[in-house]
């Protein structure tokens, strides 16, 4: 089973915190769609022996494309790849794109009609103040209205919520979570606001226009979120992802479990089990290369140690943890020994734990260790 990720590199406006690849000019939209379809075609041999189980439109803002444009791309996948019955097809959408309705056509029904069965809605917050600070394209009313309507048509909805926003009180944060619960949303992806270098947010904070983002606040919000969602029957299956049973993101889970995926579009990443590759993060260069039937990508071959490090890094983020049996099988006994030896100190400090599960032993983060998962992972790394 494998996944296809399709990157739609356009946004209406730039959110202040964002360092993803996108353009706010739609001039090259047509050419881009053509190029995406060509790349899908060009790379079909890579999945000659694979069946596609998930198709994921990410961005940027996929909902900038019309329904028929999305449909064309989906059709191209079907024409060139073996696809399972009922694949998970996700579209990331922003509330402002989902609010337009005509009497005749409802956007949600239109998505359903082309096979989209999962919506990922970039709400981020239900509060005007937060949305303004982050320069989101939608307002609070649109966020509410859109979710209300979406739940009438889709069961499988996930929304994004950002915490740790400057000036966001614990109460306000909890209200955001509560609103999502009140709508009956079965999956939430929740991220800490992260100040990436050279973003507008970074500049504003340096100039003192926006207050600092504080780790203590983020940590408090994270703990509130974890507790609240647990009370409401969500499984915290990945650091930033919470879902009710049956609603985990198949596509994203594949990344963390080391499954294969092809990433289509500028800046998209691919993994075939041994190699990682990534396309150029530039729309013009991407289109130009694809037009000449060339893949504008860089490729890296993972060494055994690289793969071990990745397994540790991604494993610690999930409830599935790092399976010692798999480490031994995939990398050898020495790796397993090394892992345990490095983990010892953190197990003593109750940041990591070993749990016995069906003849296997799994290394996981404890509740206390979760928010330190990267630092813990790097301690367990082996250097080439």
């Amino acid at each position: 089973m494998a996944g296809i990720y399709i990157h739609i590199p356009f946004c209406k406006q730039a959110c202040h915190y964002c360092d993803f690849h996108f353009s706010t000019s739609l001039k090259k939209k047509e050419e881009m769609i053509a190029a995406l379809k060509t790349e899908i075609l060009l790379r079909k041999s890579e999945f000659a022996n694979e069946t596609v189980a998930t198709i994921y439109f990410g961005g940027g803002t996929p909902s900038i494309l019309s329904v028929s444009e999305l449909d064309e791309i989906i059709q191209t996948v079907y024409e060139n790849y073996a696809v399972v019955d009922n694949p998970e097809i996700t579209v990331e959408a922003n509330p402002d794109d989902l609010s337009f309705q005509t009497e005749k056509e409802n956007i949600f029904e239109a998505y359903k009609a082309i096979g989209v069965n999962r919506l990922s809605i970039g709400v981020q917050s239900f509060f005007e103040e937060d949305l303004k600070l982050m320069n989101r394209a939608h307002n609070a009313d649109e966020a509410m209205a859109c979710i209300k309507e979406a739940t009438q048509h889709f069961d499988n909805i996930t929304i994004d919520l950002i915490y740790g926003i400057p000036n966001m009180s614990n109460e306000r944060w909890l209200q955001n979570v509560q609103t999502a619960l009140d709508f009956g949303i079965p999956h939430i992806s929740s991220y800490a606001l992260t100040v990436e270098p050279k973003t507008a947010l970074d500049t504003f904070i340096k100039k003192g226009i926006v207050p600092e983002v504080e780790d203590e606040v983020a940590q408090a919000h994270f703990e509130l979120l974890v507790a609240k969602l647990a009370e409401n029957g969500f499984v915290h299956y990945e650091l930033s992802n919470f879902g009710k049973e049956g609603f985990f993101s198949e596509n994203n889970t594949a990344y963390w479990l080391g499954k294969k995926y092809i990433g289509i579009g500028p800046s998209a990443h691919s993994y075939d089990g041994v190699h990682r590759s990534w396309n150029v993060a530039n729309n013009t260069k991407y289109i130009k290369a694809i037009q000449q039937n060339e893949l504008p990508s860089e490729i890296e071959t993972l060494s055994v140690t690289d793969r071990y490090n990745e397994a540790v890094m991604t494993g610690l983020r999930t409830i599935w943890g790092v399976s010692l049996t798999r480490v031994e099988q995939d990398f050898g006994t020495n790796y397993k020994k090394y892992l345990l030896q490095q983990a010892e100190k953190h197990i003593q400090n109750e940041l990591l734990l070993l749990s016995a599960e069906e003849e296997d032993v799994i290394l996981k983060t404890t509740a206390k260790g979760k928010f330190l998962a990267d630092g813990l992972a790097s301690d367990l790394f082996l250097l080439n």
Partner: protein
């Protein structure tokens, strides 16, 4: 012999000695076009990167003057005070010295100290006014300064530029005309001075010597008089850019000797080489042993590397006989070595050479000077304290003495105030103040050496806006009032951070050390208290707050490579840390504690 000239180039740091040597080598055709490069004689990587000379370097040139060929033996010397012993050795092999003075900076502290070294040895001084090409050069004034200092005539000062090549011919001519040819006779028994030695991993120790009387021949049976050992002179020759083997080297000349000695300690610089069968009656008085000024512990970051560290230090010592070390152990760091250095620059260089030449990442503990302690029970027996933990308990102590230096600082008149208050804060006592010119002042202080180790250079630079030069020489031990300030990290005393500090400053420095460590130790998964204590009394406390978030809890697509690389980098950083108790302390924190005012 009347066609030989032996001279060295001396100056304050950076006044252009090595660059001037380049020009002399060019002008005399001693290097080919292909061999040319800036500061050619600075052959160590570290010298080239830092742009400073660490070791003296001897080289021979030939020069035709008025139709006659002369042999010129040049020795380029370092300017930094830590390496002034290199200068004194070089001087002993010469009859003359080029005293280089930067035309923009004029006379500085090491100009004076190196000049005095040369005068003590009766060297003929040729003053060279260098860098006259600089827009900021002040040739008239600086010439006056030189005339005042040397009591020479303005016409004796040669204006030059090692950059443009101006004045090089005049310098060469002056070397021949003004510097006396060596004295000595070929018919006497061999008497040669060892003025340097270099370790070559393939050929063993190369000994550099100056023949005073007699001659040394290939395969001669020779004797080193101080050590009493005899050897066969397997190879002798002169030092060009590459070595030129010769059959013999006669009185007045300089050369190298290879005897198959593998242990650099067998060759004592300052020793006399003579003939084993027919020894000279006049042993040269030799040099005082170089004494380390500063001591610090050196420990491997990874305890498992102890043996490898020892091997590396031994090899380094072959190259640098001024490095001394003895094994020691620390409760916090395990096994390591207590090392003696010539000064803080020397310490830094050793640490860097271990890292780059031997791939050894080490922790250097807080440096200290060497104290003399006396107990009540045996008030006349000196206990030498090179490590804070060797200091006897205050209850049994009679008294302590610490080394003092005579400091000489040359600065602009504008900065006399700030420089003086810095030196007084550093427990200095002013002994002299001389206006060299209306704008330039020489200040002399008696000061504890320990105060130089703690953060003196940087502060002097700051208070004088860079316009101060500093030189010092030891003047003996004086009574002192010392306490040991201990540092506790997470309630555990870390001996490698202990420092002996004058009682009056202990509180203040303890506080600053805690603040500095709070900055330098990265946040960890728990709160870390940092305390400074004198005995059982806590004098200062800071807390490093626990790390709350160490994870990218942000949305990311499949970009796992970038994240992995990020964490790999983090891991590399951690490998340079040392775990003490529960706490990871970065390698550089141990030393940086000294830079309290950054």
């Amino acid at each position: 012999m009347k066609h030989i000239r032996n001279f060295c180039i001396i100056a304050h740091i950076d006044h252009g000695k090595s660059t001037l040597a380049d020009r002399l080598l060019d002008f005399t055709g001693s290097v080919t076009e292909r061999e040319k490069q800036d500061q050619l004689l600075d052959s160590m990587d570290l010298e080239r990167e830092r742009g400073i000379t660490i070791k003296s370097h001897a080289i021979q040139m030939e020069y035709i003057y008025k139709g006659e060929t002369y042999v010129l033996n040049l020795i380029d010397t370092p300017g930094h005070v830590d390496f002034s012993y290199e200068v004194s050795r070089s001087i002993a092999a010469c009859e003359g010295a080029l005293l280089i003075v930067d035309a923009a900076q004029s006379i500085q502290a090491q100009t004076i100290s190196n000049l005095y070294l040369a005068l003590e040895n009766d060297l003929e001084i040729i003053p060279v006014l260098n860098k006259v090409d600089l827009p900021s050069a002040n040739p008239e004034e600086v010439t006056d300064d030189i005339v005042d200092l040397l009591g020479c005539d303005a016409s004796d000062v040669i204006p030059a530029s090692a950059k443009t090549g101006l004045g090089i011919e005049e310098i060469l001519n002056a070397i021949i005309e003004r510097i006396p040819a060596p004295k000595g006779t070929v018919d006497e028994p061999l008497q040669a001075l060892i003025f340097d030695s270099v370790y070559n991993p393939f050929r063993g120790v190369e000994t550099y010597f100056r023949v005073l009387n007699g001659e040394i021949k290939k395969n001669q049976k020779i004797k080193f008089m101080a050590t009493g050992k005899t050897y066969n002179a397997d190879e002798i020759g002169t030092l060009k850019l590459v070595q030129h083997p010769k059959q013999k080297i006669s009185a007045g000349d300089v050369g190298y000797l290879i005897t198959g000695i593998k242990d650099a300690r067998e060759v004592k610089v300052g020793d006399t080489i003579t003939d084993a069968a027919d020894p000279t009656k006049n042993m040269i008085s030799g040099f005082e042993n170089v004494k380390p000024m500063v001591f610090a512990g050196i420990y491997p970051v990874d305890t498992e590397d102890y043996e490898e560290l020892r091997a590396s230090m031994e090899k380094l010592q072959l190259n640098d006989a001024s490095l001394v070390f003895t094994p020691e152990s620390s409760a916090a760091l395990g096994f390591g070595f207590r090392c003696g250095f010539l000064g803080m620059l020397h310490l830094e260089i050793i640490q860097e050479r271990l890292e780059r030449e031997f791939d050894m990442t080490v922790i250097t503990t807080v440096p200290n000077v060497s104290y003399h302690a006396f107990t009540k029970k045996n008030p006349d027996d000196i206990i030498i304290v090179n490590n804070p933990s060797d200091m006897p308990d205050p209850t049994i102590m009679d008294r302590v003495e610490e080394p003092f230096i005579k400091a000489s600082i040359i600065t602009k008149a504008d900065f006399v105030g700030p420089v003086m208050s810095l030196c007084i804060e550093k427990r200095g006592q002013i002994t002299n103040q001389t206006y060299l010119t209306p704008e330039r002042v020489e200040l002399n202080f008696d000061m504890p050496l320990a105060e130089i180790v703690f953060d003196f250079y940087d502060r002097l630079k700051t208070v004088s806006k860079g316009y101060a030069s500093f030189d010092y020489s030891p003047i003996g031990m004086r009574a002192s009032k010392l306490v040991r300030v201990d540092v506790l990290i997470n309630a555990q005393s870390v001996d490698a951070l202990s420092a002996l500090i004058h009682a009056d400053n202990a509180y203040n420095i303890g506080k600053k050390m805690c603040e500095k460590l709070r900055e330098l130790i990265p946040r960890q998964q728990f709160d870390i208290p940092i305390q400074a204590a004198i005995g059982a009394k806590i004098i200062s406390r800071e807390t490093i707050k626990a790390l709350r978030k160490d994870v990218t809890a942000k949305c990311y697509g499949g970009d796992i490579s970038r994240k992995r690389k990020l964490l790999e980098k983090q891991k590399k950083g951690k490998k340079r840390m040392r775990q003490v108790g529960n706490v990871e302390i970065p390698q550089q924190a141990f030393m940086a504690v000294l830079k309290l005012n950054d």
